[in-house]
């Protein structure tokens, strides 16, 4: 599969469609379907058409277009956009309009990326269903009675519902991979430090990473290649700009795939069957399969929630109602203003996570929770190092089940946290991983396969994914509405 970005870019270059027509087609799609999907929380039609006009002028003048030029896309609502309201889907940031752009958005603007709007997410990226959003959740394009996943649910719903070619999301504990898995898409969480986080509104700074949600592996490679770079504004960015797309079709010289048994504990039978089938496909393609064990996986989930909430309680301390966003109306003192603003502005899940974070960082409990979790983070990192000494790529489920019905996540927080079991270890270790479709359950909902590689091995990861996609394309994509509405 050549990917939508290449296909649509080709159509623009060959003048088979103008960028304005293409953009308008997507805007019409949004006008028609967004009330059902709730993928977008803000549509930037004027701006999109303005960019499209600039692209069309370049085409008319015979100027060459860059890779992502003129391609309609979306940004998650936690990625800062100068002059465009950015709320993290929280009441507390209502009315906040950033005065600067996130580095990823600066990079994409230079390429004349056509921004269709900002997409829905769990409030401050805290959730697995997109339902903690103050705008309500995003629906799954495969079955609108099910969630699109979270936290980048709006981006996945938009791309899956053909309302954008690609979306940028963020992944702190699975927030790109899980919704991609639920919506039959390719979602890449890059290595920590591969993509600048400058302008990404922080949830848990040692775990957050920006990445693409797309329809194909080649699209993910194109977006990743464009946004990955060193950025002086983000001291954790390492930036190893390398060409991934050009080498995507190269089969890795030797490929050993690790199947780590702990990833399969408690996985639904239909998901397990689809993954076993994927393992056999890789075997048929010449990969060596090794069965491995990584006991540290069993600690990953509580380690993640302790560290993420501790960091969140600190990062979200900045919302005091003084400098931006929502401010409570009636108060008698500054202290009361801050407390009221935060209590009225943050939703229940965000408040629970702030409280948990404050608790694990408080004097009496720091050693029992935070310090222990930091140490066990080391155990998870060591576990992956040992595993990658024995294989190139790990194959695992993205989520132990397919998309939840709407309302499931609200019933039991701990049960919902446990659905993140397969995605959080990667964030703890800072390594790259992607989710791609590998089948469907009986209800017709997509099953996500997760591929995990060692630090900065995105190229190998994407090549391995591409190999599977080429083999399975007809089978896996039969149900996705492949193509860009009427143009592809």
């Amino acid at each position: 599969m050549s990917g939508m970005i290449k296909t649509i870019g080709g159509l623009l270059r060959q003048k088979k469609v103008s960028c304005a027509e293409l953009t308008q087609a997507y805007l019409d799609g949004i006008a028609k379907d967004n009330s059902t999907l709730n993928a977008y929380v803000r549509v930037t039609a004027d701006r999109a058409l303005e960019t499209a006009g600039a692209v069309d002028r370049k085409i008319a003048a015979g100027e060459p277009l860059s890779l992502l030029e003129g391609i309609p896309m979306t940004l998650k609502d936690n990625i800062s956009t100068r002059g465009i309201e950015t709320t993290c889907c929280s009441r507390i940031l209502k009315g906040y309009t950033p005065i600067y752009d996130a580095t990823v958005w600066q990079t994409l603007q230079k390429q004349n990326a056509v921004l269709l709007g900002k997409t829905n997410m769990d409030e401050f990226a805290m959730g697995s269903s997109c339902e903690t959003s103050c705008f309500g959740g995003a629906a799954n394009p495969f079955d609108t009675g099910h969630v699109a996943g979270g936290s980048s649910g709006g981006g996945a719903s938009a791309v899956g519902g053909n309302l954008a070619v690609y979306a940028l999301g963020s992944d702190t504990g699975g927030s790109i991979r899980q919704p991609a898995g639920f919506c039959g898409l390719v979602g890449l969480k890059p290595t920590y430090g591969a993509v600048s986080r400058f302008g990404l509104i922080a949830y848990a700074s040692s775990l957050d990473q920006i990445g693409p949600i797309c329809k194909t592996v080649s699209d993910a490679a194109a977006v990743f290649e464009t946004i990955s770079d060193r950025d002086p504004m983000d001291s954790t960015s390492v930036g190893r700009k390398e060409s991934v797309l050009a080498q995507l079709e190269q089969k890795p010289d030797s490929l050993t795939i690790g199947v780590v048994k702990e990833y399969f504990h408690g996985v639904e039978p239909q998901v397990e069957t689809a993954l076993q089938e994927a393992v056999r496909t890789y075997e048929k393609l010449g990969a060596k399969i090794v069965e491995l064990s990584m006991p540290a996986i069993s600690y990953a989930l509580p380690v993640y929630y302790i560290l993420a909430c501790a960091e969140a309680s600190s990062n979200l301390g900045r919302y005091d109602g003084i400098r931006y966003g929502y401010r409570a109306e009636h108060y008698n003192s500054i202290h009361e203003m801050i407390c009221k603003t935060r209590s009225e502005g943050f939703g229940p899940e965000v408040q629970r996570r702030i409280l948990l974070g404050s608790y694990v960082l408080s004097a009496g409990y720091y050693d029992a929770y935070y310090k222990k979790a930091q140490n066990l983070r080391g155990a998870v990192i060591r576990g992956f190092e040992e595993t990658f000494a024995q294989c190139d790529v790990i194959l695992a489920p993205t989520v132990p089940m397919t998309a939840f019905p709407k309302g499931f996540a609200e019933q039991d927080q701990v049960q919902t946290y446990q659905t993140d079991i397969c995605t959080v270890p990667v964030n703890i270790a800072g390594i790259p991983a992607l989710s791609m479709p590998c089948g469907y359950d009986r209800k017709g909902l997509p099953i996500g396969m997760q591929l995990i590689a060692n630090r900065f091995e995105e190229k190998k990861l994407l090549q391995t994914a591409f190999l599977f996609e080429q083999e399975m394309a007809g089978e896996i994509y039969r149900k996705t509405e492949w193509g860009c509405r009427q143009y592809a």
């Binding site: 929630y305 003084i322 407390c339 222990k372 080391g378």
Partner: protein, 92 residues
């Protein structure tokens, strides 16, 4: 098990108000979440073994003075500000 008093204390540290009617539910929810967080104790002494394993180091760079964002623009997110400051009501 976390108590209601502890919840209220943590809420004060977090600058959040917890209303009386929500306190019971929140205490239960936090108890469940902490019971789940407690499962890291199953790792026992193993945690000590990995102390400092991450080997993290700070990244430094030369301090460089660059133009800042204009104050007027920053204040736009606070209703335009007053005399170049963020306004809050005077204490009664």
């Amino acid at each position: 098990m976390i108590t209601k008093e502890e919840i209220l204390e943590i809420a004060t540290l977090s600058k959040l108000y917890v209303s009386e009617e929500k306190l019971d539910d929140l205490t239960k929810a936090m108890g469940d979440i902490l019971a789940f967080a407690d499962t890291i104790n199953a790792a026992g002494a193993q945690a000590e073994e990995y102390e400092g394993l991450e080997g993290l180091s700070n990244v430094f760079r030369e301090d460089e003075v660059l133009p800042s964002y204009p104050a007027e623009e920053i204040l736009q997110n606070a209703g335009g500000g007053e005399n170049g400051y963020f306004p809050v009501k005077k204490r009664k």
